[in-house]
Amino acid sequence: MKALFSPALRVASHSLRLHLRDRFFGLFLLFSLLLIYSSLLVGVMAVYQERRALVDFGLALMELMGLAFCVYASATAVSSEVETKTIYLVFSRPVPRHSYLLGKMLAVFGAAALLLAATAVMHSSLLLLRGHSPDGLYFAALGYSWLKLTLISSLVFAVSMFATSSLSAMVIGFILWMLGHFAPETVFMAARAGGEGSALEFLARLIPNLQLFNFKDALDVPGAAAPPALALAYAAAWWAGSYGFAWALLRRKEF
C-alpha cells in the first residue's frame, strides 16, 4: 500500500502545485469570481427572491467553472507531459505507472476542491454582504458538486488514454456531463426501446447518473438528497472504474 501511495502522493503534490500555477487555473478562478459578482444583478431583479437567485446562480456557476477546469486539467494531465517529454523523466525514476496515474488524478481532485473552496469563500462573502447567510444545505450542495466534478474528471482521465487528442477527450467529457443529467431518462427509454436487460439498456447504464449528486436542484425539498454514503460509494466506484480502465491502457503504452 505504501509503495502505491508514497510515489502517488509525491506526484499528486507536485502536479497540484503545477495546476495552481497554471494560468488556466487563474483564468477559471478569475472568471468564476467575475460571474459570481455579476450575479448580484440577477439577485436585484429577483426582488424578494434575492437569496434564492444568488445561491442558485453561485452554485451553478461554481460547478460549471469547476467542470471547465476539471475537464481541461484531466484531458491534458498526461498528454501534456507526453508532449513536453516530462513523462520520460518521471518514468526514469522509481515511479510505477499506476502510482503516477493515481497521483495525477488526486491532483485534479485537489485542484477542483481548491477552486470550489476559493469561489465559495467569495460567494459566501457576497451573500453575507447582502444580508443572507449560507446554510448547511449550501455546503452540502457544494460537497455533492465536488463529487460530481471528481467523477467526471476521472472519466475524462480514462477517455484521454485512448482519445486521439486532448480536445476530443474534453468534448467527450462535456457530452458525458450532459448525458449524465439525463441518465435516468436514458435508461428508461433504452429499456422501453430494447427491452429490459437488453444491450441497449446496458449501454445506457454506462453513463454515470449525475442526477444523484445534483442536490443543488432540490435544495428546498426535504429529504431529496441521496444519502451521502451512497453518493460517496457511487463516486468512488466510478473513480476506481476509471482508474482501472486508464491503468489497463497505460500499463503497456510505449512512450
Binding site: V42, M45, A46, V47, Y48, Q49, E50, R51, R52, A53, D56, F57, A60, E63, L64, A158, F162, W177, M178, H181, F182, P184, E185, V187, R205, L206, P208, N209, L210, Q211, L212, N214, F215, K216, D217, A218, L219, D220, V221, P222, A224, A226, P227, L230, A233, Y234, A237, W238, A240, G241, S242, Y243, G244, F245, A246, W247, A248, L249, R251, R252
Partner: protein, 247 residues
C-alpha cells in the same frame, strides 16, 4: 484478439462495480417533473435542454420567474387602448359606463404559460407558485386558473403545505367570509419569502373582516421588509390609518 482490444476489455471490467451500484442509486433523483413534462414557452426548447443537461433547473426556474415578473410588471398596450376607448365615450348625460370587472387590468395572455413553465422546471419554487396563483386570483380575476396552477403544483410537490393553504383560501374567495381566508393565508403570509402582493391582499382582507390587529401586523411587516418601495409606502399609510382608527 489484439493486445489493445484485450486492454480495453480488461479496462471495461473495472466499471462493473460502478454499474452494479448504479442499480441501487437509480432510486435517488431530485423529485422534479420528467423532462417530457416540460412545456415549451417562448421557444424555450434549447434553453430547457440546457437547464436539464447542465443540472441547473433551479437556476433556469429563477430566470423564468424573473421574466414572469418583468412581463407582469410591464404595462400592456391594451391598457392604453382601453383608456383611450373610455375617454372617447361621451357622458353628456352624466351617466357612468360599466366595462365589467377588471377591465383596466390587462389580459396578460402569457402569464399562465410562463407560470406553468416555472412549475415544470421547479415545482418546489413556492414563492413563484404563490405569486402566480395570487396574481391570477386577486389581480387578474381568474380564480379557476389560479386553482389549476396550485393543483398542478400540489400534484408535483405534494408536501408543500403553502400550496394547500392558498388553495383552501381560494376555495373561500367566492364567499363573503374574509376572516376564514385570512385564517388560511396567515401561516403562508408569515413566511419571510411570501410575495408582498399576497401579504398586501391578506392585510386588506383582515381589515375587511374587522381584524385590525392582524392587518396592522401584516402592514408593519410589509413596511419594514418589502423590497418593493410602493408596497412599503402604501403599508405605512395604511398603518397610520389603522392606528388613527384604533386610537
Amino acid at each position: 484478439m489484439s493486445p489493445r482490444v484485450k486492454d480495453l476489455l480488461l479496462g471495461l471490467l473495472f466499471f462493473l462495480p460502478a454499474l452494479a451500484l448504479g442499480l441501487r442509486a437509480e432510486r435517488y433523483r431530485p423529485p422534479l417533473p420528467a423532462v417530457s413534462d416540460i412545456r415549451e414557452v417562448r421557444r424555450s426548447a434549447a434553453e430547457d435542454a440546457a437547464a436539464v443537461s447542465l443540472g441547473a433547473r433551479r437556476l433556469f426556474a429563477d430566470v423564468w420567474f424573473i421574466r414572469l415578473m418583468q412581463y407582469y410588471g410591464t404595462r400592456e398596450s391594451v391598457h392604453d387602448e382601453r383608456i383611450q376607448e373610455h375617454r372617447e365615450h361621451h357622458h353628456a348625460d352624466g351617466s357612468v359606463c360599466d366595462h365589467g370587472p377588471g377591465w383596466e387590468k390587462g389580459e396578460y395572455p402569457e402569464f399562465i404559460p410562463l407560470s406553468l413553465h416555472v412549475i415544470d422546471l421547479d415545482p418546489w419554487f413556492h414563492s413563484a407558485v404563490i405569486y402566480s396563483a395570487a396574481s391570477l386570483a386577486y389581480n387578474l380575476n381568474k380564480p379557476a386558473e389560479a386553482r389549476t396552477i396550485l393543483e398542478l403544483a400540489i400534484s408535483r410537490a405534494p408536501r408543500e403545505w403553502r400550496y394547500h393553504s392558498v388553495l383552501a383560501a381560494l376555495g373561500h374567495s367566492g364567499e363573503e367570509n374574509p376572516g376564514e381566508i385570512v385564517r388560511l393565508l396567515l401561516p403562508v403570509v408569515r413566511q419571510p419569502d411570501c410575495p408582498t402582493m399576497l401579504k398586501n391582499q391578506t392585510a386588506f382582507l383582515s381589515k375587511r373582516a374587522g381584524d385590525y390587529s392582524t392587518a396592522a401586523e401584516i402592514y408593519r411587516d410589509i413596511a419594514e421588509n418589502a423590497p418593493e418601495k410602493e408596497y412599503a409606502e402604501r403599508a405605512l399609510r395604511e398603518l397610520e390609518k389603522i392606528e388613527g382608527r384604533t386610537r
